[in-house]
């Protein structure tokens, strides 16, 4: 019996000891358990430079959202094609909703601008690259990151005004906003760094192509990235021409300085991200919630523009005609809305997304020249090159001469086949053919109108140009459909987007300060920094 007891006691002791041993050794595997085997660590990515380069494809696809991974699809569709494009007169939502694109009503849509993409899909990975030491270890890769950051973030500040930038990525739960002027200054500085880094790399390692594997835009050609950086600088320079003409001119001249690598000179230079998932196609063919805008169809139709069949389908009201849908239309049924011209079948799921084109550069040069800056040519020369390049880009270059020389056609009135309330008389009498004798203002309208047609479907940039210059002249929303509660003028139209509601719920104190910097209430009627209420010249 005694033996028995002893035996049992020992067994229990043994069991307890055993369990202690088990505990001590088992927790060692905890880190392994708590690591998602579907995830990738920076260490795993080291082979072939994936730890740095691996982030670039998604970054490039985020500028004009067309990520093949499916990231940013909803925000991209809504931000680009349901908000910016209607404001630019390109597209109209074929959806009976009180949305910003239809009726200036942001309620419930505030979180669907490009804000999230700008910060989560561009700023965050670029910041991560910085943390990983890319600026020092791979200055050439860092240059690309900076170019992409500028390409994205100028859209964000142009849409909202003051936004977080210099204090980005400091962690915590709040972040302060910067005024737009300082953000533009930072953009120019970042482009300086990018250009210098690339120039240095090209000079030191001629023919070397380390970025090729990660490049979905230029297949690793740094000279083209240089041109893209300079073209972006030219675009940004022109944005601030009214608020700060001196800097604008200085930056424009810097952009075209051949010593810096120059700007786009042919369609082969165009920045397009390939291999993605085209969201314009998705909006039109999958979501089936957009139709051609009344404004662009009226202009192109009256100009007999050969690009119209590349952009749009004919309507089903009258299969011989292109009919756009006016922003802020008076309510029709969804089925009726679908009868307006759709996006052309030529926009496919795999159509590359265009970030910037040579024709836009041509029109920027034309405007610079018109302003008397030494752009290396006359306004007319650049203007006509812009049209030619755009028509070439769309494969209809043969019609360019006729088109360029058309001095008669003027924009049509808008007639809604269903709802006479939506009818609008044309606001413009601008023609295509260059007229040196015309006033500067008229020629500016000419340049911006053609740039607008060429820039389709870059709604954000065209909305910026519309706000900056007042061109092209766009049909206003039907007055009864202006549901902004009086904050947005039907005549001068929407000037910015209100901040996302998420900033109010998560960053309230800083938004309050941002509104002071903005200098007006946080609504669509307040002008951003470069949006000067004054003459163009």
């Amino acid at each position: 019996m005694k033996n028995n007891k002893f035996y049992f006691k020992n067994r229990i002791l043994l069991a307890l000891l055993l369990s202690l041993v088990v505990f001590n050794s088992c927790t060692k595997k905890f880190e392994e358990f708590n690591t998602d085997s579907n995830g990738v660590s920076n260490t795993q990515l080291i082979p072939d430079n994936n730890n740095i380069g691996g982030f670039y494809p998604e970054l490039q696809y985020s500028i004009v959202p067309n990520n093949p991974s499916g990231a940013n699809s909803l925000q991209g569709v809504l931000g680009e094609y349901h908000i910016s494009c209607p404001f630019a007169g390109y597209l109209t939502e074929a959806y009976p909703e009180e949305s910003p694109g239809n009726s200036y009503n942001f309620t419930g849509w505030d979180n669907y601008g490009l804000w999230g993409i700008g910060y989560n899909a561009v700023m965050a990975p670029v910041n991560n690259l910085k943390t990983l030491g890319t600026p020092a270890s791979s200055p050439d890769f860092w240059a690309i990151a900076l170019i992409l950051q500028v390409a994205e973030m100028h859209k964000i500040t142009d849409i909202y005004g003051p936004v977080p930038f210099s204090k980005y990525g400091l962690g915590g739960t709040t972040v302060s906003y910067d005024n737009q002027q300082s953000i533009y200054t930072a953009f120019f500085d970042e482009l300086d760094t990018a250009v210098n880094n690339l120039k240095k790399y090209i000079a030191s390692f001629p023919g070397s192509n380390p970025f090729k594997k990660f490049d979905v835009v230029y297949a690793g050609d740094y000279s083209k990235w240089l041109k893209y950086a300079n073209s972006l600088r030219l675009r940004l320079a022109m944005h601030i021409v009214k608020i700060d003409p001196a800097t604008a001119k200085q930056q424009a001249l810097k952009a075209i300085d051949p010593a810096n690598g120059g700007v786009f000179t042919s369609n082969a230079d165009n920045a397009t991200s390939k291999g993605g998932f085209n969201l314009l196609w998705s909006s039109s063919k999958q979501w089936v919630t957009i139709r051609a805008g009344a404004a662009i169809v009226s202009y192109m139709d009256s100009y007999n523009d050969p690009r119209i069949s590349e952009y749009f389908e004919k309507s089903s009201f009258d299969p011989t005609k292109y009919i756009g849908l006016k922003q802020g239309y008076v309510q029709s049924g969804y089925l009726d809305l679908l009868k307006f011209s759709d996006i052309s079948e030529k926009f496919a799921q795999s159509t590359p997304a265009t970030m910037m084109t040579v024709s836009e550069v041509n029109f920027l040069l034309a405007e610079g020249a018109l302003r008397g800056w030494n752009m290396g040519g006359t306004p007319q020369m650049f203007y006509e090159a812009g049209i030619q390049n755009s028509l070439d880009q769309w494969g209809v270059g043969g019609a360019a001469i006729t088109y360029i020389n058309n001095s008669i056609s003027k924009p049509n009135n808008y007639v809604d086949p269903l709802q006479p309330l939506n009818n609008s008389p044309t606001l413009s009498t601008i023609t295509i053919k260059w007229d040196d004798a015309a006033a500067k203002e008229e020629n500016l309208e000419r340049i911006i109108t053609q740039k607008w047609i060429a820039n389709f479907p870059d709604g954000t940039e065209s909305w910026t140009n519309f706000r900056r210059t007042g061109y092209p002249k766009l049909f206003p929303v039907t007055a009864s459909r202006n549901n902004s509660g009086g904050t947005i003028s039907t005549d001068i139209q929407i000037r910015r987007s209100p901040y996302p509601v998420s900033e109010y719920t998560n960053n309230a104190a800083e938004v309050a300060k941002a509104i002071i910097i903005l200098g007006g209430p946080d609504n669509g009627g307040t002008r951003v920094w470069w949006d000067v209420n004054g003459p163009n010249f």
């Binding site: 995830g39 991974s69 991560n128 980005y168 709040t174 960053n507």
Partner: protein
């Protein structure tokens, strides 16, 4: 111990020195670790003995002993015969045992003393003294202890020794009205427990909330424990938005309710202190049936229940479609509006058949059961079928020192076409169908497309529209199927080393395999179904391994009894699986992976590879009792969680303490007081965090790019702590005819783990923090009255009352609010300091500050407030009340349960949509009246008393003015009623059938008060967000049925 017992006065129990039965009984009592109290109950044993003496008046005066033949029937407390009971002459060798019918007969000297002993029962002795028939009802050991409950770790304890509130619900009570998810049956039956069911129809999940929401981002559902071992109850519900969601039922619903012996609800953190993290929201302990020694029976039960929808939306019949092809009903007057809804909903049927076999010999007891559930929902093609197999074996070895308990369950369940949650479901387009348009033309949902040479959808909206959802098409051509195979295997072994020391080892595997498929046929909305249809399939396996080891030491020291437990456990959970879905199919309506364009961005594949979480724990508990009226409990537990790796705080300790006293034993109280018990406890429960949050990683996206993870790593986290204080009393009066149980509790959940959205400009869009304090406090009151039966009519009644107040005391430093959930239609669930959990935020109309009137634009459109959303209401009830009654008269029993949830506000997005589309009764009435009567003001200051119905409703609904669609959530209903008839036992005497009961049952029979347009108990989601929101929820059901229960 033996001495102690022997000294008890008047103890009519005999303790032979070498009786193995006795020894075992003794051990099992010890393991129950409470004070043995035979004194009080000992006398009552005698009541259970029936004697018959020979009728002869003449009794011969014989001094010499003479053998007489004694016979009788031995039964348990329920009157069921016990086989194998030992019948012996005291101090003699002579003996026999009862046969399978519980009968014995023995020839003994007339003046001898008979000893009746049986494992698990109190031994009884009776002097023969001339009696020739001695029938005995043996009392179970447990029965001596008063009410026994299963407490933490599966240990039986007397309820009087427990320092926290524990509510027991028996299997019978749960099964009065059978449910496909039996947790629904708990509604109104337990104080402080709120049950809401998911809107996904048959087989859907339930949300069980005990004493309010505590965790901001973790699960707020209790831990389910079966026979001492935790169960997987991972929800299958996916509700990313109000647009679309799915629910394939939860883990608990898989069980066969007929296998449940009883359920104990441990509400407070004290109860949970030994279970660890997962138990912070309370524990539901389920005790399953086992075979019992000496009882052999077969039980068959069958029930059929018919379900009908309890309500339909109120639609207008006067105004037609806006224009041809329009989705809206803002058009001209019509006379052709019909009721399209009544026919659409079918009568749902549920048939449950269950059979069980239970038998028990001395050394081994067996319970085997099989049940079969088949049901169809109120929607066409929505069906459920389930098979449950269960074997439970208990056996004793090595001179009864070793006992082994094995339980194996296999469950096979198929759920077909569980309806989508949210806008993309069957009923959205049924409700919104333009009034006056002929619905009959779409009742055949297919039409031949001669160009594509296939059947496609017959509907008035084109496939390009997201509204391309003919409800009949959805019933038939939007299919999903969930197949579940689940195996649960449990083994427990316990060895009594010495009289005071025992060791127990338990292990469990719970493995669930789910295969889900979804097929959308071509012709559905392009955005979901693509041009050629959509196919999705996934295969997921979830496995939980659990093991524990416990050493139990128990001993009396005079009047003090001490019981200690020392143990360790391991909880290892793994998820595995792969899935793929695509709406880029090459050939229409062929649902195979081979038919998917794998390169298309519309094809998504994913794998869950070995999601592995482990929790290890060491725990200890000590219980001390003094003289059977003062009880003290102290526990401590330390957890090591793999989810906390990569942080400096990988392990955490938490204690609990409780005290309870029985005043009527300690003091002399007036006669009317039959019970006066006070209890108090304080406990801390720690909680871990979800997997991977300490170590977020980047992922590779389609195309090979690396997608940056916008979630900040949580390197400095601390485990969550819930501290809970509970005070309670139990009072019984007039021999416990009146019983009152009162509890006050307060819990503080601190160091909350929050997954918060931060401004993306901070570098991340989501981060985790530990902060805040959410407090819940409330009272629970249960009052019962069961008057002693006078005559044939018996009545008992029970009232459950509970209230919970939830206050968000603090959040993260410098933060006043967090968004818990939001949709793109202005619904926000916000956690704000001073607010309470579940607060719904949204937008209201603008009111003129001076006059309070609604501000209108110049053309009389109501203006909406802008900026930050404002508070609209909270869906949680202020208090709940349940009132159950049971009447029995002879062989009839009638019972009913009325319950009510009072207070709270819910949001109906359904009503908003009905108004938006112009189909609601309200819009029709407004148009009849020439507009909506309002108290409005124009910008020029002029008052407006009526605005155009379209302007008003269309603007408010398309602007998503949720403030206009909040409703009082109070609901009072007749929850359950049943009438049952048991065949009189006289008629069954000695027959093949031992018991037969037939019941008529009903559930959710009537709403006595319900101002909201839907049943607020039906939730869009059982998760933390989206509660209190109706997004085209399926209506609640009203059920009636019959139940037959036969015991052989």
């Amino acid at each position: 111990m033996k001495e102690y017992l022997s000294h008890k006065k008047g103890l009519p129990v005999y303790f032979p020195k070498n009786n193995p039965y006795f020894l075992f009984g003794w051990f099992s009592i010890l393991t129950l670790f409470f004070c043995f109290n035979a004194t009080a109950k000992g006398y009552s044993v005698n009541k259970n003995i029936k004697f018959s003496t020979p009728k002869a008046k003449f009794r011969p005066m014989i001094i010499n002993t003479k053998d007489i033949e004694v016979s009788g029937l031995i039964t348990n407390a329920k009157g069921e015969p016990l086989a194998g009971v030992s019948v012996k002459i005291k101090d003699g060798k002579q003996g026999t045992s009862t046969d399978t019918e519980g009968k014995y007969s023995i020839s003994v000297p007339d003046n001898s003393m008979l000893v009746f002993s049986f494992i698990g029962y109190v031994t009884q002795e009776v002097i023969v003294n001339d009696k020739i028939k001695i029938d005995i009802q043996l009392v179970e050991n447990a029965g001596l202890l008063g009410d026994v409950v299963v407490s933490a770790l599966g240990i039986n304890r007397s309820s009087k020794s427990i320092a926290y509130s524990i509510q027991k619900v028996t299997g019978e009570v749960l099964n009065v009205v059978p449910q496909t998810n039996f947790m629904n049956s708990l509604s109104g039956k337990a104080a402080g427990v709120t049950i809401s069911s998911n809107a996904s129809g048959i087989g859907g999940s339930v949300k069980v909330l005990i004493r309010g929401n505590k965790s901001a981002t973790g699960s707020n559902q209790p831990l389910y424990v079966i026979d001492g071992i935790p169960l997987i109850n991972n929800p299958s519900e996916v509700t990313p938005s109000t647009f679309e969601g799915r629910d394939g039922g939860d883990g608990i619903s898989n069980l066969n309710p007929d296998d449940i012996e009883s359920m104990s609800i441990l509400k407070g953190a004290s109860a949970a202190a030994l279970y660890g993290s997962a138990a912070a929201n309370g524990v539901i302990l389920i005790n399953t049936k086992k075979g019992k020694v000496g009882i052999s029976k077969v039980n068959f039960s069958s029930s059929y229940i018919a379900d009908k929808v309890a309500y339909k939306p109120q639609l207008q019949d006067s105004y037609g479609q806006s224009s041809v092809g329009s989705e809206f009903s803002w058009g001209k007057a019509t006379t052709t509006a019909t009721d399209n809804i009544t026919d659409f909903f079918k009568t749902g049927n549920t048939l449950v058949n269950a059979i069980s076999f239970a038998t028990g010999a001395e050394k081994a007891q067996t319970y085997i059961s099989y049940s079969n559930t088949t049901g169809s929902g109120v929607l066409e093609n929505n069906s459920l079928s389930r098979h449950n197999f269960n074997i439970h074996e208990t056996a004793r070895f090595l001179n009864n020192k070793l006992s082994i308990d094995v339980n194996a369950n296999y469950i096979q369940q198929t759920l077909n076409n569980s309806p989508n949650l949210g806008y993309l479901n069957n009923i959205t387009r049924l409700y919104l169908f333009p009034r006056g348009l002929d619905f009959n033309q779409y009742k055949n949902p297919t039409i031949y497309d001669p160009i594509r040479k296939m059947m496609t959808q017959n509907w008035f909206l084109p496939p390009s529209s997201s509204g391309a959802m003919n409800p009949y098409w959805v019933n038939n051509f939007v299919q999903n199927k969930s197949d579940r195979n689940r195996t649960m295997l449990k083994i427990a072994a316990k060895y009594n080393i010495t009289n005071s020391l025992s060791f127990q080892l338990r292990g469990n595997v719970d493995k669930i395999n789910d295969k889900n498929t979804s097929n959308w046929y071509a012709g559905g909305p392009i955005v979901r179904a693509g041009l050629n249809g959509q196919y999705g399939v996934n295969n997921l396996t979830n496995t939980l391994y659990y093991g524990d080891a416990m050493l139990n030491y128990t001993k009396f020291f005079g009047k003090i009894h001490v019981n200690t437990i020392l143990g360790a456990s391991i909880n290892d959970s793994r998820n595995n699986g792969t899935g793929i879905s695509s709406n880029a199919l090459y050939i229409p309506n062929i649902f195979t992976i081979q038919n998917m364009d794998l390169a298309s961005p519309n094809t998504n594949s994913y794998s869950v590879s070995e999601e592995h979480s482990q929790l290890q724990a060491a725990f200890g508990a000590i219980s001390v009792s003094f003289n059977d009226w003062l009880f003290l409990d102290v526990t401590g537990r330390n957890d090591w969680s793999s989810n906390l790796s990569y942080t400096p705080n990988g392990s955490y300790f938490y204690p609990s303490a409780g005290i309870s006293t029985i005043l009527n034993k300690a003091l002399k109280l007036p006669e009317v007081v039959s019970l006066a018990r006070l209890r108090g406890s304080y406990a801390v429960v720690g909680n871990s965090v979800p997997i991977y949050v300490t170590n977020p990683q980047n992922y590779i996206g389609r195309g090979g790019g690396v997608i940056f993870n916008n979630t900040a790593p949580f390197a400095d986290l601390n485990p969550e702590k819930t501290k809970s204080l509970e005070l309670g009393s139990e009072l019984g009066f007039f021999h416990n005819q009146i019983s009152i149980d009162f509890t006050y509790y307060k819990t503080k959940s601190t160091n909350q783990f929050f997954s918060i959205l931060v401004p993306p400009g901070t570098g991340y869009s989501r981060r985790f923090i530990n902060a805040g304090n959410i407090e819940n406090s409330g009272v629970e009151l249960t009052m019962g009255y069961s008057p002693l039966a006078k005559g044939a009519l018996k009545w008992s009644t029970l009232i459950n009352f509970s209230t919970n107040k939830n206050v968000v005391k603090s959040l993260a430093e410098g933060t006043n609010e967090f968004v818990l959930a939001q949709d793109n239609n202005n619904y926000y669930s916000i956690l704000k300091i001073g607010g309470s959990y579940g607060d719904i935020y949204g937008y209201n109309l603008q009111n003129d500050s001076a006059s309070g009137k609604v501000k209108l634009s110049a053309d009389s459109v109501p203006l909406v407030k802008t900026g930050a959303p404002s508070f609209l209401g909270n869906p949680n009830p202020k208090f709940q009340l349940g009132w159950s009654n049971s009447f029995s008269y002879k062989d009839f029993t009638f019972s009913f349960l009325v319950d009510g949830k009072f207070g709270g506000e819910v949001l109906s997005k359904t009503e908003m949509l009905l108004d938006n589309y112009g189909v609601s009764k309200a819009t029709g009435n407004a148009r009849d009246n020439g507009g909506v009567a309002i108290n409005g003001i124009l910008p020029n200051g002029a008052s407006v008393s009526k605005v155009d119905a379209y302007k008003w409703y269309y603007s408010n609904t398309s602007n998503k003015v949720n403030g206009e669609y909040m409703y009082d959530a109070t609901v009072i209903r007749i929850r359950e009623a049943s009438i049952s008839y048991s065949l009189p036992s006289k008629m069954l005497k000695n027959g093949f059938i031992k018991n037969l009961r037939l019941s008529l049952i009903g559930r959710n029979l009537a709403y006595l008060y319900k101002p909201a347009p839907y049943d607020p108990e039906i939730a869009y989601s059982i998760g933390n967000g989206f509660s209190g929101v109706d997004v085209m929820n399926l209506p609640a059901l009203r059920s009636v049925g019959v139940n037959l229960n036969i015991t052989f």
